[in-house]
């Protein structure tokens, strides 16, 4: 997790200050380019306008100077005009034409001038130029290549009205006559003006760029200064991003930054609390508050590592409650839970300060007593035995004596691993159990004969997993309502040299201890799916118990989906049985997984329904399809009227909720008849059919 966090954090390319600076620079660059473009555009317009104005002035003057050529054919009359034009380097040529523009009267072309080619004035242009009914003569401008422009204008002469002189007034031009006697056009070259202005523009743009760079530099320093409080947050936030929660953010200074700092500190506190809670949840058993199996094994490995380096010894205690199943079945799971809680308190009561007590699974507890030798371990075990002898469990008004057996393995060899020590302690506790209740046994590491006879559950189960040796046994259910389906329950068996096969009760506690139940369930489900595929009968349904570890494991829904898909069977051909106490312990996970699987088509049955008080509550919370009535209500149903009433009530509820009911452990004809009368859908038991390795046997 940490490297991922670091990686994601290191992806941040630049700081906020740099981004603002980059945007500022980009903005300034855009403004600069636009400004220079606008300046260039405006300058060119100004140049053109100035050239036009200047050209108008020049053409007016040349108009006046050239007028004599219209009064005579003497070309020398153009001398004044030529002298004038020669003194103005921009003027490349001057032409005097007749009024229609068809005849050249006189002209001047500057020596070595390279004139652009201008088209002749067209009819429209001539018509415009020949107009005299307007207050001001029209002047036409033609832009050529190489910064050249042709300016054309009519030559007007005016005269005062016949009777206009006697009382002449400058204000009244009434009756003034205008006549166009010719055309004049000049070609001017404004490249020098343009080049000059463009050069100045270039220098101006350089100056502006320099000023903008200075401004950007100052702006950069100002932004950095302004954003410094924000930059100061970077270091604590980096540490926070790296997973550290022991971080404090400065919450003083600017109002906005202070608020951010306070908010971050609040968030960090909440994260701290959440981490602690998660850690606690990850390492603790929810029911008893003791360490859970995972955490215990981790600590055991740590201790082994410490001992490997420093020598010394610690003791691993394995506690197994002797009458827990009886309490559970008789007084309900709630009572069983209460017992477990009291046992946990008992363990903690005697444990020394650093000793680690854990609920290892079901009714099994472990204790790691640090820095103790065999003698100290024995003393501690005797103390626990004494405590248990004095311990009385009160339930339903009864005083119940509870016993447990203790197996002890001395952790004093760094070459062994946690599994080895747990296996030793497990063997020792079974030995203690075999010797009678409320006793303890120290594991004897060189007792090869004993280990060999037991062959070690761990090794055996590992072989089962590795070689896929789990065997499904099928027990068909009797269909009391003649429904068009066939249901069989699968029981898991493993091979045994002595007995042929071993039932689940023999190996399941060990499998649960060693965390192998999930894999065993997967193996048996895979085999069941294969059987269903071979049967190719959609009405054939198999039900089986799912272990707590299978439900809790990641990827369970995906596994079930894949296995049904791979075998071409319907998820509806599976009914998964969940014991009521298992549901109760893991209700959160159940509520998460079961709806997903149900949506996929798998069906669920609550096993041992009616054994506890919470049963009715669970069927409201989970999508359940079958209720498997607790055997405690079935065993004596032909004798006990209350059991009959209870079963009827369960059947009524199931009917209302459109669920099916299954009664197990049916042991005789009369019980079956009663159950049929009560409306049970399916019954099962050895009386009806025993389990066999073949589905159709």
């Amino acid at each position: 997790m940490r490297p991922e966090r670091l990686r994601s954090f290191s992806k941040t390319p630049t700081s906020l200050a740099n981004r603002i600076l980059a945007l500022q620079f980009l903005w300034a660059l855009i403004v600069y380019v636009l400004f220079i473009a606008a300046l260039w555009f405006a300058t060119n317009i100004v140049i053109l306008n100035n050239v036009r104005h200047q050209g108008e002035a020049w053409i007016s003057r040349l108009d006046e100077l050239g007028i004599p050529v219209y009064a005579s054919n003497d070309k020398s009359q153009l001398a004044d005009a030529i002298a004038y034009a020669r003194n103005i380097p921009e003027i490349l040529s001057v032409k005097y034409l007749n009024a229609t523009g068809s005849k050249l009267i006189a002209s001047y072309v500057r020596k070595d001038a390279h004139l652009s080619t201008f088209p002749d004035l067209d009819e429209d242009a001539l018509a415009v130029l020949s107009r005299t009914d307007i207050p001001r003569r029209e002047i036409l401008f033609d832009k050529g290549s190489n910064y050249q422009m042709r300016i054309s204008a009519p030559i007007w002469i005016k005269s005062v009205a016949n009777d206009g002189m006697i009382d002449f007034s400058m204000k009244q031009k009434k009756g003034e006559k205008i006549e166009s006697i010719g055309l004049i056009n000049i070609v001017i070259d404004y490249s020098q003006i343009s080049n000059e202005l463009n050069r100045n523009l270039f220098y101006a743009s350089l100056l502006i760029a320099l000023l903008m760079m200075v401004a950007a530099h100052i702006g950069r320093r100002m932004i950095r200064w302004a954003l410094r409080p924000l930059s100061d947050l970077e270091e604590p936030l980096t540490r926070l991003a790296n997973g550290e929660t022991d971080v404090t953010v400065r919450s003083s200074g600017d109002k906005e930054i202070a608020k951010i700092g306070m908010a971050l500190n609040t968030t960090i506190s909440a994260l701290k609390e959440r981490d602690e809670t998660l850690l606690r949840m990850a390492n603790q058993d929810n029911l008893t508050g003791l360490a859970n199996r995972k955490f215990f094994v981790e600590q055991l490995e740590k201790e082994i590592g410490r001992i490997a380096g420093n020598r010394g010894s610690s003791a691993l205690f394995f506690f197994d409650l002797d009458r827990f199943k009886y309490i559970n079945d008789t007084y309900g799971h709630a009572a069983g839970d209460r017992l477990l809680i009291q046992i946990a308190k008992l363990l903690n009561q005697r444990a020394r300060g650093k000793d680690l007590a854990a609920r290892f699974g079901g009714d099994e507890f472990t204790l790691l007593a640090y820095n103790t030798d065999a003698k100290g371990a024995q003393e501690l075990a005797e103390d626990y035995i004494k405590l248990m002898r004095e311990f009385v469990f009160y339930e339903a008004g009864e005083m119940l004596k509870i016993h447990f057996s203790i197996g002890i393995s001395m952790v004093d060899d760094g070459a062994l691993n946690s599994h080895d020590y747990l296996k030793e302690a497990d063997s020792a506790v079974h030995e203690a159990k075999s010797a009678g209740r409320n006793g303890y046994r120290m594991a004897v590491r060189d007792a090869d004969s004993q280990n060999a006879s037991n062959h070690g559950w761990h090794q055996r189960l590992q072989e089962v997993l590795d070689q896929k040796l789990a065997i499904p046994y099928f027990q068909a259910l009797s269909n009391l309502k003649q429904q068009d389906v066939s249901i069989s329950e699968i029981y898991m068996r493993i091979p045994d040299q002595e007995h042929g096969v071993l039932s689940a009760s023999a190996f399941m506690p060990a499998a649960e201890r060693f965390g192998m139940m999930s894999e065993l369930d997967r193996q048996i489900i895979t085999k069941a799916a294969t059987v269903l595929a071979e049967q190719n009968d959609p009405k054939q349904i198999l039900s089986l118990n799912l272990s707590e570890q299978f439900i809790m494991a990641d990827g369970t829904p995906e596994f079930l989906r894949d296995i049904t898909k791979a075998n071409g069977i319907s998820p509806g051909q599976f009914i998964f049985e969940l014991p009521e106490h298992q549901v109760m312990r893991n209700i959160d996970r159940m509520q998460q997984v079961i709806p997903i699987l149900s949506a996929m088509g798998f069906r669920f049955a609550i096993d041992d329904f009616g054994a506890g008080f919470g049963s009715f509550n669970y069927i409201k919370q989970l999508p359940v399809h079958f209720l498997k009535i607790s055997n405690s209500l079935i065993e004596r149903i032909n004798e006990d009227g209350i059991d009959q009433i209870s079963v009827r009530a369960i059947i009524d509820i199931a009917t209302d909720l459109k669920m099916h009911t299954i009664a197990k452990f049916v042991s005789n004809e009369s019980s079956m008849a009663i159950l049929k009368d009560l409306g049970v859908d399916f019954v099962q038991g050895n009386f009806i059919k025993t389990a066999s390795p073949s589905l159709k046997a």
């Binding site: 108009d63 006046e64 100077l65 007028i67 004599p68 219209y70 009064a71 030559i155 007007w156 002469i157 005016k158 005269s159 005062v160 009205a161 016949n162 009777d163 206009g164 002189m165 006697i166 009382d167 002449f168 007034s169 400058m170 031009k173 003034e176 006549e179 006697i181």
Partner: protein, 324 residues
């Protein structure tokens, strides 16, 4: 010459006589003309003709003359002013064709052009500069010059600018005789008149500036054919910038920098018109030269320009000076 000078000064305030353009050598002498005018008294009229006065426009320079003529002629005269409607004007002239025992006076160019169609009627035109382009002169049609007596003009020049020796004058074509007469008058005051003939206002400007190298002053004549408001503005500006004193034909031009304006006196013009009509009574044509000049003038001097040009205003001319 001295005597002549003295007489001319007197003539500025009393009615003078006209000088015909032809036979200038003999008729240029003002006293001689005056004498001629004085001895040639009209015969008593048995049945005095009706006089129709046609006026181009309602301009003071025209109406002042018409009013003087009405005073002189009394009930014999009637005045008609031409309007903008050309057809109506033609109708008005046509109605005069059949009139018997009638003499015509036309004041202004348009009225004179219109009246020129009445070739069988005795006509005296006045306040017209360009009479040659329209062939206004014939044995039955004679005129009074719009120009003031050249003698009076150059005498004023000499008094205002004693050092002046060359003066430029520009006209359209057809005024060689008048210019020759004016040159003679100028010579009497040791002034050389430089004349340029142009065809347009642009040429006028060009010639004006070109003359600037030769002359110390200009005399602007009211030739509407070659003058425009713009060219007048331009040449007046030129004359100011180049400190060239300019005699102008309109008081309006004094505002543009003219040194003095000099025009015929309307009263004098009216008297000369009446005189020519009386001389023509019971004759087949109008006797005398094509054009006669009024000796009595209206003078106005721009005191600002006098000062700007560094001139000294003689005492006897101060009454004519004011700032425009």
């Amino acid at each position: 010459m001295h005597r002549l000078f003295k007489y001319s000064i007197v003539m500025m305030v009393i009615p003078g006589c006209a000088t015909p353009p032809a036979d200038h050598a003999q008729k240029l002498s003002a006293p001689a003309i005056q004498q001629n005018m004085a001895v040639e008294t009209p015969r008593p009229a048995r049945n005095l003709p009706h006089v129709e006065i046609l006026v181009s426009e309602n301009l003071p320079a025209y109406t002042d003359v018409a009013r003087e003529l009405e005073k002189v002629l009394g009930q014999r005269a009637s005045v008609q002013t031409l309007g903008d409607n050309a057809l109506k004007n033609q109708g008005m002239v046509y109605s005069l064709k059949s009139a018997e025992n009638i003499q015509i006076i036309s004041i202004g160019l348009d009225a004179s052009i219109a009246a020129s169609k009445l070739s069988s009627k005795q006509l005296v035109f006045c306040q017209v500069f360009n009479y040659r382009d329209y062939d206004l002169v014939s044995p039955m049609h004679k005129g009074i010059s719009i120009l003031p007596s050249p003698y009076q003009v150059f005498r004023t020049w000499r008094h205002l600018s004693p050092g002046i020796s060359d003066i430029g004058v520009i006209t359209g074509p057809g005024f060689e005789d008048e210019i020759r007469l004016a040159s003679q008058a100028a010579r009497q005051f040791q002034i050389t008149l430089h004349h340029e003939t142009v065809k347009s206002d642009k040429e006028y400007q060009f010639a004006f500036k070109k003359l600037g190298k030769k002359v110390q002053g200009y005399w602007l004549l009211p030739d509407n054919r070659v003058l425009s408001a713009a060219s007048l503005h331009e040449v007046m500006n030129y004359s100011i910038y180049n400190s060239k004193p300019t005699a102008v034909f309109s008081n309006e031009l004094l505002k543009l920098g003219g040194l003095f304006s000099i025009n015929s006196d309307p009263v004098e013009v009216a008297k000369l018109v009446n005189l020519r009509l009386e001389q023509a009574q019971e004759k087949d044509s109008i006797p005398g030269p094509e054009l006669i000049y009024a000796d009595k003038v209206k003078l106005k001097i721009n005191s600002v320009m006098v000062k700007n040009l560094g001139l000294k205003l003689p005492v006897h001319l101060r009454k004519f000076a004011n700032a425009p």
